[in-house]
């Protein structure tokens, strides 16, 4: 098995001062986690472990994890923890995802 080169930060910008969130969905996912935690749905330790698992899973799937996919891990961990805590089931999430897509298509002329 080929091991990724963990000994170099080549290709990762080290001087970036970019925006806190690159896209609105990242900010939304971030805020959802903070709010759920604040309300006591999970501890921060539980969250950190979940996030760690999402990062490991992404790396196992071939993501070199250079920092630019961080909020993808964050979102995957969020979906996992709301299912664990029985706040939202995976099925309900899939259904709502399709509904949101249909609604968006209807409103913006992307019916398919």
């Amino acid at each position: 098995m080929q091991t990724p080169d963990l000994e170099s930060l080549d290709g990762i910008p080290l001087d970036e001062e970019g925006p806190v969130f690159r896209e609105p969905w990242q900010a939304q996912a971030f805020a959802l986690v903070l709010k759920l935690h604040e309300q006591g749905h999970f501890t921060w330790t539980e969250w950190a472990e979940r996030l760690n698992r999402a990062i490991s899973a992404a790396r196992a799937g071939g993501d070199p994890d250079l920092g630019n996919t961080y909020y993808h891990h964050w979102l995957a961990a969020l979906e996992g923890i709301v299912a664990d805590k029985r706040l939202v089931t995976a099925e309900a999430l899939m259904r709502r995802r399709d509904e949101v897509q249909e609604e968006h298509g209807r409103l913006h002329g992307h019916n398919h």
Partner: protein, 200 residues
């Protein structure tokens, strides 16, 4: 931050976040206003300027510095800086003998209340791995060459403890005001991947 064109189909991640928010809003667990408030806080209110103010004060005020090194959580809470996720804060001081470097090998734990959210490199696997395996080599990648006699100490943050580095006050700053000193304290100098310097 710009919302992508409304004519474009939504991406997979956009759909997933909207679905989550919509279901949790229906359940009365979250609402748009409080979520926007959280985003605004992290986009516009917290950032390295807070850490820089704390460092500059510690450089000027030995009594404050002693309290900060002794019990950062309480000292910072007294100043109104507490973590939304309620973690413990520890401040570690750089000296000629020791250079401190912070990392989170678990995920991306970082002293949010005083530095804001971390840059991408801090969250990357290469940084997290190399900080532990070859901290001196890592610092070299950041352009920081330390003298042989300076030991490098690595602090692994976690969900309960976050570290903030108190950088060395550079020589030649004896006559600078606290406000001027704040200007030379960079984010990287408080993570440990840089130093506070006069030439910037």
């Amino acid at each position: 931050m710009t919302e992508s064109s409304h004519r474009a189909p939504l991406s997979d991640v956009q759909l997933r976040v909207r679905a989550l928010e919509s279901l949790l809003t229906e359940k009365g667990v979250v609402n748009r206003e409080t979520l926007d408030g959280i985003v605004d806080h992290y986009e516009n209110k917290v950032g390295p300027h807070i850490g820089a103010a704390i460092v500059a004060r510690a450089w000027m005020d030995p009594e404050f510095k002693a309290r900060l090194l002794e019990d950062a959580s309480t000292t910072l809470a007294d100043q109104g800086y507490t973590g939304i996720e309620g973690s413990h804060m520890v401040v570690v001081e750089n000296t000629d003998a020791v250079h401190n470097l912070t990392v989170c090998t678990l995920c991306s734990c970082y002293p949010w209340p005083v530095l804001g959210l971390p840059p991408n490199w801090y969250k990357s696997t290469p940084y997290r791995a190399k900080a532990v395996r070859d901290p001196r080599g890592l610092l070299r990648e950041f352009g920081l060459e330390l003298p042989e006699e300076t030991a490098v100490r690595v602090w692994d943050s976690n969900a309960e403890i976050r570290y903030l580095v108190l950088p060395k006050r550079p020589e030649g700053t004896e006559n600078m005001s606290e406000a001027e000193l704040q200007e030379i304290v960079t984010r990287d100098s408080m993570v440990g991947t840089g130093q506070a310097t006069l030439e910037q």
